[in-house]
């Protein structure tokens, strides 16, 4: 068996990234559909629903944490960029190493407690549909692991002198 080449690996990662985008888009559309179903049920069928509220906040929570873990590009993050953006790429790469290491270390330290907290919730269920809360909340563990991996890559890039791609003012929505 031969190891996959670098280009094949990049292909696979790109494919995964597109699928992650699809999941993220699906979560948004699903949340939107919950609202439409809720409104139609109430006015057209005179039958108010309760589960739509519950499901839509789950989609929102997952959309945020899954999206932040797998879909957001570096340039789409909200940063305090007035100072950062005026630095040279070399300086920003050094910054990325420092901030990345601090962030990773803190996430790793918190990890056992977070895992314990989430698994402990298997005894609790959501109010309406009775979905096990550890399933719902597991997205935070996924998010933490993804963030650790992602920032490890950024630290590696930073050591090689490559800074994350940024765009001033991106990510703001107001």
């Amino acid at each position: 068996m031969t190891l996959p080449s670098r280009t094949q690996l990049v292909e696979v990662l790109r494919w995964l990234r597109r699928r992650a985008d699809d999941v993220c888009g699906f979560l948004l559309v699903a949340m939107f559909m919950c609202f439409m179903i809720q409104i139609v049920a109430r006015y057209v069928f005179n039958y108010p629903l309760g589960w739509t509220d519950e499901v839509s906040v789950i989609f929102w929570t997952w959309g945020t944490l899954f999206g932040a873990a797998f879909c957001l590009r570096e340039r789409e993050e909200v940063r305090f960029d007035i100072f950062y953006s005026s630095m040279s790429e070399k300086t920003r790469a050094r910054f990325a190493v420092v901030t990345g290491i601090v962030f990773i270390v803190l996430l790793v330290i918190a990890m056992p407690a977070v895992y314990k907290y989430v698994t402990f919730l298997k005894v609790e269920k959501t109010a309406y549909l009775g979905i096990r809360l550890d399933y719902v909340y597991s997205i935070y563990v996924v998010f933490s692991i993804a963030a650790i991996v992602r920032y490890s890559v950024l630290v590696y890039d930073g050591l090689k002198g490559r800074a994350p791609d940024i765009q001033v003012g991106s990510g703001s929505v107001i």
């Binding site: 959309g63 590009r73 918190a110 994350p164």
Partner: protein
Amino acid sequence: MNLFSPFAMAIYTIAGLGLLGLPIGYSMIAGSILYLLLAGLDLATTAEQVLNGLMSSYVLLAVPLFLFSAELMNLSKMTDHLLGFCDMLVGRFKGGLGHINVVQSIIFSGMSGSAIADLAGTGKISIDMMTKNNRYPVSYAAAITAASAVIGPIIPPSIPMVVYALISDTSVGYLFIGGVIPGFLMAFAQMGVNSYMAHKHNFPVEKPIPIREWPGITWKATPALLMPVILLGGIYGGVVTPTEAAAVAAAYAYIVGIFWYRNFGWRETHGAILTSARQTASIGMLIAGALAFNYVVTVEQIPLFVKGLLAGYDLSPGWFLFWVNVILLLLGCVLEGTTIILVILPIFIPTAVALGIDLVHFGNVAIFNIMIGLITPPYGLLLFIVSSISGAPLRHIIRDSMPFVFAMIIALIIITYVPETVLWLPKLMGYKG
């Protein structure tokens, strides 16, 4: 205050990581974990705060839905047809295109909750129209376009007000309606500046549009004009909640784009979904960070500390609002707006309550203020965007936007010291105050 307390260390960490370029949401999560570690508290608390916070912030679902509807609206280009309609209304006055720009922003404000969406939707076409045949200097066109976009989140719907509703526990409906008069005040202030500039620099007048063309122009703009009617009628007619209204707006924009203008298909829809989903993750993460950090701030009783500190100065409500306005205007020059709402405003809210300041009034004043921050240098988000759309140098746009900033600050003073400008409409709709 102890400069080496866990809380102080958390603040240094957040500020340090933020300054060195870590996304703000992550900086706050990191700072909160460090605080828990140093204070010997359960390290899972950050996760707990983020998860429980997101799961119970039902009102915030309006944010992704308004983002989605703005994307769809901009795709359908329904706002392009508003230009003709606005021309019909105000084109014949001196500096006509400047007035058109402002009036169009007023209408767009009733459709979208974001100043950035306003610029993305109408900025380029407005600037192009004003600068065709060198009728207006490009820097002036860019400045008035950025300034008028600021009206977007003040007239309902409004994304920042949804975020404020979360942190202050006030009603989105009353906050929204409270923004109507301030929004119009802001628009009048801008049209006043435009009139003055038009006379000073002898800006052109548009040809009056003959009355017989009015119905046709209005008809073309109807889908766009109906949007605010559906949204506000839905919310204040008690048909839908503000969050549901956001979903209805998205559905309406989609239907209009597909069936009326027929200018987008699956490909574009897919793009709009992905863009808004990613924007959702971006603001969601900022909110998650703020949820984690606000827990720390609450445990440390910082808002109460600030309240006690200010009580020592024996501030009157008027002076309190004055200083809050000054602080927010200064912060608006360097910080992103949502961050200010999420992190800074909660510190002031208990004091505002203790001084008897109405929180709907306070929210409208604060958001009006923070929106001015979108066009104040050095960190004026909208200035950057219009500069890249128009190609005009940033410093020229800043120079030309200064009169607008000045006029908007006067409007801010009015809404700060005449609370009825904000509260009259909510009270009319049953707000008890």
